[in-house]
């Protein structure tokens, strides 16, 4: 019985260690890529070791109780010592750790340079850069080494923005704007996901944070602030007409065209994005076509209806969308 439990324990203890080294590119709280995320992961490891010690103590005492040969007679002193003094020592230490870590992970401490507005929607993230006109979805670009104030709110139900490798989560609540600081230490793509249950497609409400060197970021912001490029040839022209002639424009916005809907994600520079449907599928021609024709198969319950298009119309539309870089 005891050996079985120990064996299991070794296994489960080993698992996070394996993943710590081998699970990059996910959204692990244990592979921090910013100061705040590192503070929190250190908290975890400190508490994990402390908990393991207390747990070992309890199991050892139970084992003594069950297997002992001599009589022992612990009394009230034992109960007060282990049941009052020990918890008091533990919670005082934890409280000190909390007071130390709280400012490091809170927005007030960092001198943020600029703000990104993120609005949680059922079921995507509407992202905009105030005073630039740049607007995108499900993708937040930030410069490496520059603390960015991410202001989070919601226009429908409560969501929660969670990019574990950069910082703690923060709820997106209608009428309550909240802030969280993203300050990536190195370039990379960090996945995040909605953490507050928000209805049918809560499972498919992810996003990516793209941290890139300052120059690359400035370049991206410059392009993202511009309206969509006008169609460069007749084929793209036709694609744009398909879009403007279908239901697409009622829900989507493409800056520089008549499409100005606000129900779905902004498509002005859709071709430059890493993924589609709130980081649910890759941004490739095939997936894009599948999404347009039957979005309910990929993400059942989402607000986009299927679009019925002829083969040539679809191809032209895809060409046009792929030109929106």
């Amino acid at each position: 019985m005891r050996s079985g439990r120990e064996w299991r324990y070794r296994l489960v203890l080993a698992l996070p260690l394996v993943c710590l080294s081998g699970c990059g590119g996910g959204q692990s709280t244990l592979s921090p890529h910013s100061g705040p995320a590192r503070t929190i992961s250190s908290l975890w490891w400190i508490m994990f070791v402390g908990s393991a010690l207390v747990f070992a103590l309890v199991v050892a005492l139970i084992a003594v109780g069950l297997l002992k040969r001599r009589r022992t007679s612990p009394g009230t002193k034992f109960v007060v010592g282990l049941g009052v003094v020990l918890p008091v020592v533990v919670i005082v230490s934890l409280f000190v750790l909390t007071l130390d870590a709280l400012p490091k992970t809170s927005p007030s401490s960092a001198k943020t340079r600029f703000q990104v507005d993120v609005v949680g929607r059922e079921w995507f993230w509407d992202v905009s850069y105030p005073a630039t006109g740049a607007r995108t979805a499900n993708e937040i670009h930030i410069p490496v080494g520059v603390p960015v104030d991410v202001r989070v709110t919601s226009s429908d139900v409560i969501h929660s923005l969670w990019v574990p490798e950069l910082n703690r989560k923060v709820d997106a609540i209608p009428g309550h704007p909240n802030d969280v600081v993203f300050d990536a230490r190195e370039a990379g793509v960090f996945r995040g996901q909605c953490a507050e249950f928000c209805g049918l497609e809560h499972a498919h409400m992810a996003l990516e944070v793209v941290a890139e060197p300052r120059a690359a970021f400035d370049d991206w912001l410059h392009r993202a602030s511009a309206p969509a490029p006008p169609p460069a040839n007749a084929r793209l022209e036709r694609g744009q007409q398909v879009l403007l002639g279908s239901d697409c424009e009622y829900c989507h916005r493409i800056a520089g065209t008549n499409a100005s809907g606000t129900v779905g994600p902004d498509l002005t520079h859709i071709a430059s994005r890493l993924s589609l449907a709130a980081a649910t599928i890759p941004n490739s021609r095939g997936y894009l076509a599948g999404w347009i024709l039957d979005p309910q198969h990929i993400k059942p319950g989402n607000k986009m209806p299927a679009t019925n298009l002829s083969g040539p119309d679809l191809q032209a539309l895809l060409d046009y969308l792929e030109s929106l870089r």
Binding site: L15, L43, V79, L82, V90, S108, F197, L200
Partner: protein
């Protein structure tokens, strides 16, 4: 103590025919067993839901379930486990064993007890009928607004109305337990000799009395928003989404201890028995139980660390949350000390208890981590929290419940369970449980959010989820083994005898199963372990009626003899009437809802008719503070909490979303007419005081005049209030904004209480037709309610009419 004694008791406590017993019994043992069976069925349903979800989550991108189905399953799983299984299951054990453990012959209010069960059953069926028609609640067990307040369909109405309905059962049950424990203990059982299980039930019941109103108010706001267009949670109309969360967790965190404390009481019952030693640090453990229940009310904000509250608020609540580690620590190490002192006997109940300590310590340790605010903000709403609360709730409540089944079933059925099958089921459950839930800690740390119906591959979550799913099957097999063991034992189990475990508490001093009257003689208690006392107890004979004894609250000194009520079908009829009312609400059928209200009034009247065997020999109430006195005080406590929550909501909505109050375009409400109406109502306090004074002196005419004046003043108030509301509606209505919503909710709810006060006064008038001492008590108890309603009227007046001018 002779055969004649037992013969007389058999006659006095004889049951009517089987059919009549089925619908009308008030025997706490029958009601307890019904609770246990019904709750077990809900547990099996919730387990089935869980296994289905785990199957969906076994692999990434699985499409076994649609998101609609998954959302309903996880919501019903949580709602069922929390509201329809754990609490009712523990109520079942409480119902069966609290009277036996304190040496009483029934609960303090047997008919109210029957009502609690019927309402629990009806509300459970009500909530599950949503699943049958494919529109079960689908926003989780805590159903955050505005998702819950704006979702289409009836799904969330089954939740909101169902929980208000169930709250009646929980509140009635809690009041019953409290009065039973403080009034019906055997002579000599002072509070410091009371079994720890009874301490736990007392702490839990007190928590329920003060926690349920917050949930009721929240669900009331939810339904008013969903069905009648009120704006409590809607930021665009002056409401606030966080209001839901505050009220929910003011209920929800105490509810965690409501679930956990009775389970802990079971552990504190079983450990001394199987260690063959009295509980070490008994007093500290009793104190820790009460302290946990009390502290539970001061920590709710730790469920809301990610919503963006001020740091100072969060820090205070984090500190309060950490303090809970102290009473938990005391209990854990008191169990371990008892176990170390004794010579443990490894039987199935004890295995489950040891399994409980191990899993609960893990859950407690991960629980303390949530008080470290930044860590909480990182892992809350991830699978880490799913792992944590299953360690606390499955580890902390289900293991003790399984221990209790193996420990107490021999008393209930008179037969033992099989030890080998018991041990096998324990290992299957223990291993399956840890295999299911331990990997979830890691999945959460690796970033897997909770409540997702599927997940992408390549995140490091696949293997962990597969392990969890396999674990859930192993766990399910273990549970089925328990079911088989229980059914087998009912048919073939070895006869248990009175006391198979050589236990220390009173339930083991009577036969298994106990007779209708529980004890042939009323035990007299001299220590916390009465069944271990030598020599034999010197019992009291009490055989000449359908009676039990009452004792004083603290010392347990003999106070008098209570005549216990007979069977009654009215609790069942009242429960059905309530069900008609709630079905009318969910179906938006005014006819059905009003029919329900009519039926409720009729069944309340029927309930209080004198019964055939009933009042022929009504003893004078033995003490100043009778059961009815305590019952009314507790009812007022819970109702006062409800109004406190509503008034807190009024000021929260006024100060939290900042803006003018009343909102722009509205003038301050007019003062004069409400002032006059309030003064008229408050005057009824004077008339009812005259009534109570006259009742004590036996001046029948003055009693009646006082009561009739009280009724008249109440009616005049209601007429004036109607005019005030009509006038206000011309300026603004509940759908205008949050101000209108809370304004009319407060006025409406208070008016409903005035109606109830008037009805109670009318009932008191009827009780004076045959004027005896119990009528004196009735008048006194009704006067409390009238005073309460009048105080609320004054406070509501100050809040609604005076405070906006400040």
């Amino acid at each position: 103590m002779a055969a004649t004694n037992v013969e007389q008791l058999r006659h006095e406590w004889a049951e009517p025919g089987a059919l009549m017993t089925a619908v009308a019994t008030v025997d706490h043992k029958r009601i307890g067993v019904r609770y246990l069976i019904t709750a077990t069925l809900f547990f099996l349903l919730a387990g089935l839901e869980a296994v289905t979800m785990r199957t969906q989550l076994a692999r990434p991108n699985e499409r076994l379930l649609t998101p609609e189905a998954y959302d309903q399953l996880f919501s019903m799983h949580g709602i069922t486990m929390i509201f329809l299984f754990v609490t009712p299951m523990l109520s079942g054990f409480g119902n069966y064993f609290v009277p036996l453990m304190v040496g009483a012959r029934d609960m303090a209010f047997p008919r109210l007890n029957a009502l609690s069960y019927w309402v629990f059953l009806a509300s459970g069926i009500f909530m599950y009928s949503g699943l049958l028609i494919g529109s079960a609640p689908d926003a989780g067990w805590f159903s955050y607004a505005p998702l819950s307040s704006t979702s289409p369909g009836s799904n969330l109405d089954f939740y909101g109305l169902g929980l208000i309905f169930l709250g009646i059962s929980s509140t009635a049950g809690a009041v019953n337990f409290i009065v039973t424990i403080i009034r019906l203990r055997a002579p000599g059982m002072s509070l410091n000799r009371m079994p720890l299980f009874c301490w736990a039930i007392l702490a839990t019941s007190l928590s329920l009395v003060f926690a349920i109103p917050s949930l009721t108010a929240d669900c009331l706001f939810l339904e008013l928003s969903r069905k009648w267009g009120y704006h409590f949670f809607d930021a665009a109309h002056g409401g606030d989404a966080l209001l839901w969360q505050h009220l929910f967790w003011i209920f929800g965190h105490p509810d965690v201890y409501i679930i956990f404390l009775p389970a802990v009481g079971i552990v504190s019952t079983i450990i001394p028995v199987f260690s063959r030693r009295p509980m070490v640090a008994y007093h500290l453990v009793a104190l820790a139980t009460m302290a946990t229940a009390f502290l539970g009310f001061g920590v709710w904000v730790h469920h809301m660390f990610a919503v963006g509250l001020p740091q100072i608020t969060m820090t205070v609540f984090a500190a309060a949350s950490m303090v809970i580690a102290i009473p938990s620590g005391i209990q854990v190490f008191a169990w371990i000390a008892t176990l170390m002192r004794g010579r443990p006997v490894m039987r199935t109940p004890f295995l489950f208890v040891v399994g409980f300590i191990v899993t609960f310590v893990i859950g407690g340790l991960s629980g303390v981590m949530f008080a470290v605010i930044p860590f909480d903000q990182q892992v809350t709403d991830s699978y880490f929290v799913v792992a944590h609360f299953h360690y606390v709730l499955f580890g902390g409540a289900v293991f003790p419940i399984l221990a209790a089944i193996h420990y107490w079933l021999p008393k209930i059925s008179g037969r033992m369970l099989d030890e080998r099958l018991g041990a096998a089921s324990f290992w299957s459950i223990f291993l399956g449980f840890n295999l299911t839930f331990f990997p979830m800690h890691i999945a959460g740390l690796l970033g897997m959010p909770r409540r997702v119906y599927t997940y992408p591959s390549g995140m490091g979550w696949d293997a962990l989820n597969l392990l969890s799913t396999i674990g859930s099957y192993v766990l399910a097999i273990g549970i089925l083994m328990v079911v088989v063991n229980v059914l087998w034992s009912l048919v073939r189990g070895r006869p248990a005898g009175n006391d198979p475990w050589e236990a220390n508490t009173l339930e083991w001093s009577t036969t298994s199963p106990p007779p209708n009257y529980n004890f042939a003689t009323i035990p007299v208690v001299r220590s916390p372990d009465p069944n271990w006392d030598e020599p034999q107890r010197s019992d009291l004979l009490l055989a000449h009626g359908h009676e039990t004894v009452a004792t004083s609250e603290l010392e347990g000194e003999l106070d008098g003899v209570l005549r216990m009520p007979e069977e009654s079908v009215w609790p069942l009829i009242l429960a059905v009437s309530l069900a008609v009312f709630f079905v009318g609400l969910i179906a938006s059928s005014n006819t059905a809802a009003w029919t329900g209200i009519g039926m409720i009034v009729v069944s309340l009247a029927g309930w209080h008719l004198p019964t055939a065997r009933g009042d022929e020999r009504s003893d004078p109430p033995p003490a100043e503070r009778t059961g009815g006195w305590w019952g009314m005080v507790l009812l007022i406590a819970t109702e006062a909490t409800l109004f406190a929550v509503l008034l807190a909501t009024y000021f929260y909505l006024r100060f939290e979303p900042k803006g003018a109050w009343p909102p722009d375009g509205l003038r301050d409400p007019k003062l004069l007419k409400p002032l006059v109406a309030t003064l008229i109502l408050v005057a009824s306090s004077a008339s009812i005081v005259l009534s109570t004074l006259a009742a004590r002196r036996g001046q029948l005419v003055r009693v009646r005049v006082g009561l009739l004046v009280t009724i008249a003043l109440g009616v005049v108030f209601l007429i004036l209030q109607r005019q005030i509301i009509d006038a206000s509606l011309r300026a603004f209505h509940p759908g205008t904004d949050a101000y209108g919503s809370i304004f009319y909710t407060l006025l409406g709810l208070h008016a409903a209480h005035v109606v109830l006060g008037v009805l109670l006064a009318a009932w008191a008038v009827l009780r004076t037709i045959r004027f005896d001492r119990s009528a004196v008590v009735t008048v006194r108890v009704v006067s409390f309610y009238v005073h309460f309603v009048n105080v609320v009227a004054a406070v509501v007046f100050l809040a609604l009419y005076v405070s906006p001018r400040g």
